[in-house]
């Protein structure tokens, strides 16, 4: 198993594998996104309390899932990069961060758009909203530390340390925010958990989740490939300068 993984860490082999996966991810994204949006926006019944506003959920909930999943992926590949010193793992973590930040932002924006008609306000200091906001800041800090080193090997290590410290902290933050919220205000926003999910809503939700995952894989591949090619280009430019 370990040997197999090391094999894929070779950038060249990695590039050839992802070029096979890439078209599949594009088609999956397109098909699932169309199917999910159609089912969510037209087929799924409106909620008896929330009306059509409930459809924002089909965009919002999977985005929140992705935000958490991508941070986990980032932390795992940071650990792999730190322990086995695989450059591809570092690049994957780097490439994943802005996508995760974008999903976090999407979850926050759609959440507040949903909150305006439902709660009468764009922002509530609810435990979930607050911890998502903190997650966004963790993403931004991670991206900022990549930018602030000139040496990319150093930046990779520093960012990996930060991602691992962050991933240890996320459960603590989550717990503390829940604790804080239950202390400061009664469960006035319990409507968020809503009625039990019926399959007519659950299925489009899951399809949207898969569509987002496929989208993530697609964008991740583009970004990692760009990173690898950029590095190669730089090496070539440097060797060209040396020859002159």
């Amino acid at each position: 198993m370990a040997i197999d993984l090391h094999k894929y860490a070779n950038p060249k082999r990695f590039l050839s594998i992802i070029s096979v996966i890439y078209p599949w991810s594009v088609w999956l994204t397109v098909i699932l996104l169309i199917a999910g949006l159609y089912m969510g926006l037209f087929v799924a019944p409106p909620d008896y309390q929330q009306g059509d506003t409930v459809r924002i959920m089909f965009v919002h909930v999977p985005a929140a899932w992705m935000a958490l999943m991508i941070y986990t992926i980032m932390a795992v590949s940071s650990a792999v990069g730190l322990i086995w010193k695989h450059p591809v793992a570092d690049l994957t973590a780097k490439a994943a961060a802005p996508i995760g930040a974008a999903f976090t932002f999407l979850a926050l924006v759609t959440g507040s758009l949903w909150g305006q008609p439902m709660w009468g306000t764009f922002w509530v200091w609810d435990a979930r909203l607050t911890s998502m906001l903190i997650l966004l800041f963790l993403y931004l800090g991670y991206m900022a530390i990549w930018e602030s080193f000139d040496d990319s090997a150093k930046a990779a290590k520093a960012a990996a340390i930060l991602a691992l410290v962050g991933v240890i902290n996320i459960p603590v933050i989550r717990f503390s925010v829940d604790w804080w919220n239950t202390l400061h205000q009664p469960a006035s926003v319990a409507t968020m958990s809503g009625p039990k999910i019926h399959s007519s809503i659950l299925i489009p939700l899951l399809i949207m989740g898969l569509a987002y995952t496929a989208f993530f894989v697609m964008v991740l591949i583009i970004r990692v490939r760009t990173e690898i090619l950029q590095r190669r280009l730089r090496v070539m430019q440097i060797s060209e300068l040396r020859e002159q």
């Binding site: 800041f137 800090g141 340390i161 804080w180």
Partner: protein
């Protein structure tokens, strides 16, 4: 062990002879707290309500203010390189630096905190608790901050990045710290909050030096 205390003593001596560090963070802390009544209004009931939070936020910011100097001064004059190749393990070195930072820039705040709490009209039950809670919680601030300080040492404009990296990680300390004081004022059980806060501090004691040492090795390589 004696090397550890030697290092702490050296840092304390440097801080006191230069003089400015302690008074600087102390006056910053006081000014931030004073700004709140000016901004919110002098109503005593409001001040008592937000007082614990104000003291904690001011303590976080004051801690942040001196954090980027934790390794930076030694990095600039080359002492940090010597310390790193010296016999002391880097993790222990970090611990000594953290201790010195806590003693010079946070302990003074805790000493004046009761007076400020009095001026914010926090009830007597809260004042005793806030001192105690600050004592338990603030080591976590220095320990978590050390990771950020180690990662940004030698960086241009490291201070701004440092605050972005460290402040989100401070949130649990803030929440449990304020909750403990609020509970004391409301005559509820304080112990669970204190236990959680102690847990965060102990967790930071394990993770902080390890991660900061890794960061230092990286920044100086």
């Amino acid at each position: 062990m004696s090397r550890f205390f030697q290092l702490v003593r050296r840092d304390l001596m440097l801080a006191f002879r230069q003089g400015s560090t302690v008074t600087l963070s102390l006056s910053f802390f006081v000014i931030v707290v004073v700004l709140f009544p000016l901004g919110v209004g002098p109503e005593l009931s409001i001040l008592a309500r937000i007082g614990p939070g104000v003291l904690w936020v001011a303590a976080l910011l004051a801690c942040l203010l001196t954090l980027d100097r934790m390794f930076q001064a030694d990095f600039e004059d080359g002492a940090l390189d010597l310390l790193m190749i010296g016999p002391l393990p880097v993790e222990i070195l970090v611990l000594a630096k953290v201790m010195a930072h806590w003693l010079t820039s946070i302990l003074p705040l805790i000493i004046v905190a009761p007076v400020l709490a009095l001026s914010l009209n926090i009830p007597a039950e809260g004042i005793l608790t806030i001192t105690f809670v600050l004592l338990i919680g603030t080591p976590a601030l220095s320990l978590i901050g050390a990771v950020g300080a180690a990662l940004t040492v030698g960086m241009r404009r490291g201070g701004v990045l440092l605050s972005l990296l460290v402040l989100p990680l401070y949130i649990p300390v803030l929440i449990f710290g304020v909750a403990a004081v609020d509970a004391a004022i409301a005559q509820l059980a304080v112990a669970p909050h204190l236990l959680l806060l102690g847990g965060v501090s102990l967790g930071a004691l394990v993770v902080g030096p390890l991660a900061a040492a890794a960061g230092l090795r990286l920044s100086l390589s």
